[in-house]
Amino acid sequence: MTVVAQPEIREASQTTPRSEVARVALVGNPNSGKTSLFNQLTGLNQKVGNFPGVTVDKKTGTCQLSANQKVQIIDLPGTYSLYPKSLDERVIIDLLYDSASAHYPDLVVVTADASNLKRNLLLFTQLADLKIPAILALNMVDVAEQEGVKIDIPALHKGLGVPVIPMNARKGIGIAALKILILQHLEPTPVQFYTIPDALKPVTETIKARFGLASDYLALHYAHQYKSLKFLSAEEAEWIGALLETHEFKSNVAQADETIARYTYINELLLDVVRVERVEKDEKFSNRLDQVLTHKVFGYLIFMGILFLVFQAIFTWASYPMDLIDQGFASLNGLIQDNFSGPLINLLTEGIIAGLGGVMVFIPQIAILFAFIAVLEETGYMARVTFMMDKIMRKFGLNGKSVVPLISGVACAVPAVMSARTIENWKDRMITIFVTPLMSCSARIPVYTVLIALVVPETYYFGFLNLQGLVLMALYLIGFLAAIFSALLLKVILKARERSYFIMEFPVYKMPRWKNVGLTIVEKVKAFVFEAGKVIVAISIILWVLASYGPGNSFEKAEQQAIVEAKQQNLSETELQNLISSHQLEASYAGVIGRTMEPAIEPLGYNWKIGIALLTSFAAREVFVGTMSTIYSIGEEENVSTIKNKLMMEKDKDGEPYFNLARSFSLMVFYLFAMQCVSTLAVVRRETKSWTWPLAQLVYMSGLAYVMAFITYQVLS
């Protein structure tokens, strides 16, 4: 199986190894095993990065070919042809059409699913006609053979004019042969799969001459796609546009004709190469499974069951490692504080390490969520969920694939926004990313529970319906409705850049490849920690500085005042320390800002103390409880009942409880709508590659929060 005959076309200079690190691009249809092959070749030596000017991430990795030969592997999004239909697929043309680009590959490896060779070869013949040296990685040959598809490899190799390597990327078969072949000096195939019709020749030849292109087919692609080729100057694009007009070039018709011509060629080629004695056993199994999993009733029930399991996992399994991480950072901080002192150490412990802890604590949730998502994707179940939900979601400007991020958003918006990547359509993906943070995430829970406990009595209906629980559920429901209706609003506002398709291959059910699952988790966690981490650390440092320093000698005054008050009230040493930090917070820049913003938040019923909490909560909502405890001088203890008691004792100027029904609900509503999460903003910025979206989100959600909290306070008071 691993012995591969060399094509006769090139005899000389085959074994001269390349002197420099070469670039190999991996191209192939979705579900052709491209990701498995990429993982086999690169293992953990992979990174996700955005290439300049490209809106979607590209994965690259290095592959050790031999003891002293390394090669860079570029993983490109799965596509069915070189005519891109989505933003994702556009990455391919950016890479393959500009031979002057620093990322232009020396070689392409095309993966093809052996059981569906005809359709997989369409992309291959297009690439081959670009005259880039290519290797065909014929994947899952053994599986196809079991299904009754027999492929005559030497005949295929002869027909295509490039090396063909039978392999099973999942099991690692054929990888060694592929590595050997990559090392060798390969030439483009001499076979021309598509002859450009005479009618188009004047166009292609003029373009070829003007840009000095290597192939006629590349010139044809310039004609079809000049509008999206970023490396062309405006003048060059204009020139092509004018040329096409004089020759009455019809892009649609030409593309359709080309596709049919290619399929005709492939059909003839495969006549002698592929013999099918199909047993149709596997397909029937998948179909039978579909009858249950996409059933009118059971389909939705099973889906709900899986969701329930995912939530349970995120909430329960994640809490143990999250506590460990929390404790780990706390003891690290303690260790440093016990042994060192000074303002820099404070910055390190209260700013940087506290900030980092805030990032790291999300890792278990992200890992668990993406483990589930990867398994659901790998098995092919996700395609079925999308299929079942598409019609419902479409009404709100979303699409079937938006279900996953929205549901994940109840745990944490950060991984949820990242999971929106599976949505190919730009508009649908942007709407999904935009509305996902409205789903009530787990960070809102501490805020909700403290405030509900303050004002909602613990009454039971019918013996089991807890009123406090009902209020909590209502808050989640409001969040969901807000997300759905915001989507509807955006649907009207946003102009679609591309047409929404739902033409999608339905993959056959498969066992998940655990290596792929593991690598997905590592990749997502790494992306989160490094990208969102940078921002959250920066913000924590700023917040630390604002809360730790005050204008002039205000801090000393605050301390002295606290000592005087403590003597009057006969307070203990710890109570004194708490009082000092409370007074100092009021005197700090954060306190000053809180005072300054008081007029703005007064209509919502808040004072400057809540103002500081609101402000610090913009980094992360959980901070609310911590800030309130500092302000109400109970130190760092995040003991809910203590906070509750302190808040209960707070009186307004008439001697009534300060946290009354109106204020508490106004606060809950504010926390429900407001975008108070730097991690989410950072991730949205990362995923959309622009500041426009996170800023729009910040403005929209904060505005919504303000208006809703205002209405709540005014109606209830």
């Binding site: 018709v253 399929y263 998948s286 059933h295 389909g299 299929f387 047409r499």
Partner: protein
């Protein structure tokens, strides 16, 4: 709905197939969508079979060239049958 039936009184599309029923593709009506469908193997002369419907009736899955393709009814409507 009424209008659609009048327009294609003598022409069937994949949308009109019954569950499990087969047809032979004659042409693709929508040029934009047509290309995507062509690339996915929905070529004139190919056999299609309506395989299943989503619980709410839309989208559907069809079988072309031995693999399953899911698409919306609006998209299925553009695949005309002989």
């Amino acid at each position: 709905m009424q209008k659609r039936e009048e327009e294609h009184i003598d022409k069937k599309s994949v949308r009109d197939l019954k569950l499990g029923e087969c047809g032979i593709i004659c042409c693709l009506k929508d040029p934009d969508m047509g290309l995507k469908l062509l690339e996915m193997g929905c070529l004139p002369g190919t056999q299609v079979k309506l395989n299943s419907r989503a619980p709410l009736g839309d989208p559907i899955t069809i079988i072309v060239n031995d693999y399953t393709l899911s698409l919306r009814l609006d998209e299925a409507e553009t695949i005309m049958l002989k």
